[in-house]
Every structure is written in C-alpha cells, then in structure tokens.
C-alpha cells in the first residue's frame, strides 16, 4: 500500500521538528529513512503510525486519508527501536496480542501466530518470556508481532541498532527476505548507511526535519545532491577539499592541484570558491590528475588498505587501495584522482 506524506509538519510546543515534508513510498517498496540523530526520523514514523498527532499536512495510505484515524485503526506494524515487547507475556502471547485484541477466534490466532513464528524462525522459543531471549531473538519476536496482523504498512525504527555485527548482517537479509515475501510496504529508520543501502529499494536522506534527497542507493551514491548526502553515504567517508575555479579548472592553489571540471558539471565563474568531494576509491595509483602529499595514516582492512594523505595546505584526503606494502607511514607520494568521478559543491553545499 502506498504511503504519502503530504506537506506533513510536526512541532512539539514551540519546537518545530518537521516542516512541510512530502514523501511518497510506493506500494511494496522498502524505503530507508536515513539521517543523523535528532533529525526527526522517529517523529516521522510515529506520525505515520498515529502515535503522534500531526501539526500540519495529511497522511495517506493508498487513497485513504489517515491523518485523523487513531493508531488502533491504521493497521500499521511497528518494530520499535527498543522492541517494546510485553515483558509479562510469553513470546507466543506477544505475537498473538494484535490478533487477540481483534478478537479473532482462538484457533485462528494460534494458527497465524505459529505461522509467523515459523517465518521468523522462533518456533522453539514460544514459551519463553522476552527477558529470557537474546537481543536477536527479541528482535525477531518484535518483527513477528508487527507482521502477524498482516499490516498495510511496516515501520522499523532502527531495529538492528542493538545487535552485534554478525547478527546484524543476518537480520538485515532476514528482514529484507520477509519484506519481499510478504510484499509489504515498509519504512526502515536507521542512521547506518550500510543498512540503508543494503536493505532498501530507495533511500530518503533527512537532515534537520527535511528530506534532502530520495533515490536508489546507487543513484544516491553516484549522484549526491548535496555535500551532506555525499558525506553521509560511503564508508570510509568522502573527503572534502576547498578549491577555487581558475581558468576553467578547479585549483587548490596552496597544494599545487589542478583538476578538470567533471563532465556534467557547470563550470563556475572564475574565482568562485568551491568544495570538492573526493571519494577514497577515486584516489589511487590510476587516474588523470596528480595529487601529492604525505601519508599520515595507514590502516589495513584485510583486502584493502586505507590511507590518509595530508596535502601541502594541511587538508586530508582518503584513499582506499588493494593491499600492498610499498607505501608506509610518512612517505611522500604522488597519486592520481579520477577527475570525472569527483563532486563539485558550492560553498553552501549544493551540487554544481
């Protein structure tokens, strides 16, 4: 079911948290809501499921205006950041709760509950209480409880934040599998960009209560609309470098760097200060424009090495390369950047 937030705003007293946000999630799509802490992700989710009343705008599920429908009637499944399992109920009772509240016949409740438990692989835990489960198990119970009533919409608020790295990896694919199997429209809130990129069809990047850009993960990575978006995606993160437009080139004058303007970028007027975004993988042994600096940090990540190189003007760029041991700390190096893959931003962060 399609979700549409139409000029949605939310304020708490005088604090305006979300202003005029318009967001559409397509039917069957999984959308990541990605942004720094406090930008309003949870607030948006809480408005969609009806826990918070909106201060302005409308919320649609399909064609139906849900703005004034109480959460009890919205048929939204929510996995809360803290899971919010009912501690006094067993796993089975937790999962069955939404069905029992709807007064389904007991046989039907049991059947659906067990089916859902099988789907998330917790059949053998049904008799336990939440306190007797590990974090990952609790998370699956929360997912089962959210899905059991066959909701129109599934909302996940940082569901993986409490898990260890391995479990997180497992659960990522698990959630995605279930979402695809059930064909449910889902919104995943996270501030982990890897999670967003690996699990979702599209990503909406939020900052300070606004949506900056919505795109597929690849599009977002390859074509960020602002420096903020570029900085948010990518690990290790992109490095920024102050430069000026000079004679149709982009120059970092005190570091002796001249780069051609990448294709598709409008050439700024001479003397305009700009910010260059250079991803670690575009800086290395191959490329067209030379960059000189000193290696000030080396980190081996297994298959790859991560280097920081400090330029003559003190700016730091990052490079990620295949492991080799010909470069060590404090070496002076001359590497190259693939200038067609750098991003040029204006001083206020807008892409040029």
């Amino acid at each position: 079911m399609r979700i549409l937030l139409d000029k949605f705003s939310k304020s708490f007293g005088d604090v305006r948290v979300i202003e005029d946000m318009t967001l559409e999630v397509n039917d069957g799509e999984m959308l990541a809501l990605l942004g720094p802490s406090g930008c309003g992700k949870s607030t948006t989710l809480f408005a969609i499921c009806g826990i918070h009343k909106v201060s302005g705008g409308r919320i649609f599920f399909g064609e139906r205006d849900m703005t004034d429908v109480p959460s009890q009637e919205r048929n939204v499944g929510v996995v809360f950041q803290s899971y919010a399992l009912y501690p006094h109920m067993t796993v089975a009772e937790n999962i069955a709760f939404p069905l029992r509240i709807r007064k389904l016949p007991e046989a039907e409740v049991k059947r659906q509950m067990e089916e859902m438990a099988r789907l998330v692989h917790i059949e053998e835990l049904l008799g336990r209480r939440p306190a007797e489960l590990s974090g990952g198990q609790q998370q699956r119970v929360a997912l089962a409880r959210a899905l059991v009533r066959r909701p129109n919409v599934l909302l996940l608020d940082e569901p993986l934040a409490n898990l260890d790295a391995k479990l997180r990896l497992e659960m990522r694919s698990e959630i995605r599998r279930i979402q695809l199997e059930t064909g449910i429209t889902a919104i995943l809130v996270t501030h982990d960009q890897v999670e967003a990129m690996s699990m979702c069809d599209r990503i909406a990047i939020m900052n300070a209560g606004r949506i900056i850009q919505i795109a597929t993960p690849q599009e977002m990575y390859r074509n960020p609309r602002t420096a903020f978006v570029a900085g948010f995606l990518g690990n290790p993160p992109i490095a920024f470098l102050d430069a000026v437009a000079r004679d149709g080139w982009l120059a970092v004058e005190d570091a002796d760097i001249r780069l051609p303007v990448p294709p598709g970028t409008r050439t700024p007027p001479d003397g305009t200060p700009v910010v260059l975004g250079i991803r670690p993988e575009t800086l290395g042994r191959e490329g067209d424009a030379p960059i000189r600096g000193r290696v000030t940090f080396v980190e081996t990540q297994g298959r790859e090495n991560l280097y920081d190189i400090t330029l003559a003007n003190g700016s730091v760029l990052r490079s990620i390369q295949r492991v080799s041991d010909d470069v060590s700390l404090n070496d002076e190096v001359e590497w190259r950047v693939r200038s067609d893959q750098i991003f040029v931003f204006s001083q206020n962060g807008e892409r040029l």
């Binding site: 826990i51 919010a84 006094h88």
Partner: protein
C-alpha cells in the same frame, strides 16, 4: 579469651598478647558478620524494647484475669457472695458455700465479754457460760430457743441482742493471707478436707490469677463472632473499595491526564493522609452532625436534620469506610502511580499500534504490571486496617450500639475504656494476642507469596 591467653604464653612478652587480642577484635569487626552484628545492635535493642517486650507482656497478661477489680498487684481473700457462687458453681461445693455463707452461732468467751459490755444481766451471761460454752449452732432459731430456755427467761428483745453478739459469719470478711482464711473457716466448719481448703482459697482470692479463661470466653462469646465479622467486613470493604480499588482508579486516571494536573490531583488525595487525624475526623463529623453541612443542605429539601453518621448502622459503616478509605487510598495511589510511570512508554505505543484501545491497554499492560504493587498494598493495608483504631474511635466509637465495633476498638473498650468501669486487662490482652497472632500469620502468608514468586522466575537462558 582462651585463645589470646594461649598466644600470650607462647609469645615472647605480654605486650604482644595485648596487641594480638586488639588485632583479633579489629579483624572480628572487619569481618562482615562482626560488623553487621555491631551495626544491628541498636536496632535489635529497639526491636526488643518496643516490640518484643510489649508483645510478650501482652501475651502474659492474656493468661490472667487482671481487671480493675483484681488490680495488677496481689489481692486478699474475701468470702464474698460471688466467691461463694464460684465455690458452688465451679467446685461443686454448694453445701460448704451455704454453710460458710450462713451465720453460725458459737458461744465463746469473746461473745460473753461483749454481752457484759452491752450490760446484759450477769445472771444470763453466767447461765450461758455454764450451760452452753463451746457449743455451736448453725441456725439462729435453734440458738435462740436455747437462750430462751435459760432459767432467766430473757425477753425476746434481749434474746435477739444476745444471738447477734454470738453470730460468727465469714460472709464478706477479708483476710490478708490464706492461713487466716482457713483458720477462720475451720472455726465455722472444723472438718475441712484439703480439697475444700484449696477450693476455698482459690474462690475467695480477690487478686489476679493465671487462667486460660479469657480464651474460652473469647471462643464462646457471641460478641466475638459479631466483632469478628464487623472487622472482616471493615477490612475487606475498605481494602477492596479504597486502598486498592479507588487507589488504582486514581493512579490510572492520573496516568492519562497531563502531568501538572495529575500532580495537583494527587496532592489533593494526599491531604487526608497528612492532616492530623483529629482535625480530619472533626471535619467529617461537622459534615454529618445534625447541625452540620449535610443536614443544613438537605433541610432545604425538607429532610429532617439528624446525625447522619450515627443515624443508622448502614450510615455509620458508610462513614467509617469513607473516613478510613480516603486516608488509605493515597498510599496505594502513589505506589500504583509510580509503578505505572515505570512502565516504558513504548509499551503503550506498541499496544496502541497493535490495536489496543485505552481500556484494553489498562487491562493488558497496566494491570499485569501492577501485580506486585497490588499484592504489596494489599498486604500492608490489611495489616494496618486490622490494627487501625484512631479514625473509627474518633468518628463512631463503635456506634451506634456496637454496629461498627471492630476488633481493635473492642480491645480498647474492654481493656482501657468502658462505661461499666471495670477494665478487663486480661481479657483485652487476650483479644490483642489473637490480633497479633492473626497479623503474624497473615504476614508470613504474604511473605511466602512474595518469596514463592521470586523463586519461580526462571533463569535467563541464552542459545
């Protein structure tokens, strides 16, 4: 001590011995057991002084027949009508009692001397001494016939005076010791056997004695049953309606209203708790008096003014329960409210999106979380209601006509304050002991309930 002396004998000098024993004390204090005992000591002293001793003393008094009549120190031996009744009823010595109760007439020197003092003709006195000295008559008629038979033929008036002078009755005599009593009794009834002496001593003793009579009386008295059911009704009704029920309504209601308003609301419900009892109850009385607020208000509608509180048993109960309940509700309210506050907000959010409306949230989220607080408040308030006395004493004082007499009040009325004026300390103590036993039993029961559940919480199992 022995240990340190041994060390001293082995050690090089006595100085070392002192050092060692000081170190021993220090290490004993350092051990958690030693320090714990030292720290607990003041508390133990207080517990013993203010709890154990009163309970033990109450327990002891419960097995006596102490009352205003017996006093709390020793007594004397008095052949009172009631003592004779005891002799008859409880020892089956009716004949003896009758004889001791009846005056007897013994012609002895003492009586003759009295006759001389009274100025009876010396001839008559001499005649009595000569013919009848040492004789005993058990009835007045017989003795008087003997007097009339004297050669002097005394006039009827004189006969009466003479017989009165020889009347020797034990009735209402007081004796300081059992020996004096027996001596006097033997003068009347020379051949008393040991059992009879024993019974006589027991029956005539006016001081307190050890007895289990109080408990027999408690077990058989119709008052016990009435007061018991009064107490049961009072405790159960106040507990269910107010201390937990109303407290819960208040706690849940304040959970769903804005914080500020909830705070003010709670403080209002705290007023009965923090205002002095006398003033609090006085306000209720003022409300209920025949010239009070209720009557004044209702007189506008043509209702006859009356004392609403003591008008009928039903009214009295309503007031007693309201007065006690409003005081008790605040505690439950605070405990329940804080327990509700401790429930993570996210559970309510989850319940809302799961489709639970407010009353379903109350039933499925709030109430299960209040299980322990409810149990705790129930335990605590059962015990405090069982022993509570002040509000009821000040409001109805058990009235009208004993309708609201509850156990604690009954103790007070029996042992410390009653209209008849004979305060029955022993009987009251027995009632108090029963209450203490009930209280301790309930506490143990509740404690078990708490512990039992603490035990059955399963260990956390991880895969």
């Amino acid at each position: 001590m022995t240990a340190s002396r041994d060390i001293a004998r082995d050690g090089p000098a006595p100085v070392t011995a002192r050092a060692v024993s000081a170190r021993g004390l220090a290490s004993w204090l350092n051990s958690s057991k030693g320090l714990g005992l030292v720290l607990l000591a003041p508390a133990m002293v207080l517990v013993v002084l203010f709890f154990l001793v009163p309970v033990v003393v109450t327990g002891l008094i419960a097995f006596t027949n102490m009352s205003t009549a017996t006093g709390i120190t020793g007594g004397a031996y008095q052949v009172s009508p009631s003592a004779l009744r005891v002799l008859t009823d409880q020892h089956g010595m009716g004949a003896l009692a009758e004889r001791l109760g009846q005056p007897t007439y013994t012609v002895d020197e003492q009586g003759l001397a009295t006759l001389e003092e009274m100025g009876i003709e010396p001839g008559i006195v001499a005649g009595l001494r000569e013919r009848h000295l040492g004789e005993t008559y058990s009835s007045r008629r017989e003795f008087e016939r003997a007097i009339r038979a004297l050669p002097e033929r005394p006039a009827t008036r004189t006969v009466k005076r003479i017989s009165a002078a020889f009347s020797r009755s034990l009735a209402n005599e007081r004796f300081a010791s059992a020996g004096a009593l027996i001596a006097a009794a033997e003068a009347v009834e020379p051949d008393l056997d040991a059992a009879e002496k024993q019974a006589l001593v027991e029956a005539t003793y006016t001081g307190w004695t050890w007895t289990s009579e109080n408990f027999r009386r408690l077990a058989t008295s119709r008052d016990t049953e009435r007061v018991f059911f009064n107490t049961l009704f009072f405790v159960a009704t106040t507990l269910v309606l107010f201390n937990t029920g109303y407290a819960m309504v208040l706690a849940i209601a304040t959970h769903y209203i804005p914080e500020r308003a909830a705070g003010i609301f709670r403080i209002i419900w705290f007023l009965p708790r923090i205002s002095p009892v006398v003033i609090y109850v006085l306000l209720w009385k003022w409300l209920a008096w025949d010239t009070g607020f209720l009557s004044a208000l209702l007189s506008n509608f043509g209702v006859r003014p009356r004392n609403w509180m003591l008008d009928s048993a039903t009214n009295a109960w309503v007031f007693v329960i309201l007065i006690n309940g409003f005081v008790g509700a605040s505690m439950g309210m605070v405990i329940f409210a804080s327990a509700i506050k401790a429930i993570p907000q996210s559970l309510f959010h989850a319940a809302a999106v799961d489709g639970a409306y407010r009353w379903q949230q109350i039933r499925h989220i709030i109430l299960p979380h209040l299980k322990w607080p409810i149990l705790f408040v129930t335990c605590y308030q059962t015990l405090s209601l069982l022993t509570s006395i002040d509000q009821t004493l000040l409001s109805t004082d058990g009235g009208p006509g004993g309708a609201t007499e509850i156990w604690s009040l009954w103790i007070y009325h029996t042992a410390l304050n009653n209209y008849a004026g004979n305060l029955q300390y022993g009987y009251g103590a027995a009632m108090a002991l029963v209450l203490v036993v009930i209280g301790i039993t309930l506490s143990l029961l509740y404690l078990r309930l708490f512990n039992y559940n603490a035990l059955i919480i399963k260990p956390r199992i991880e895969h």
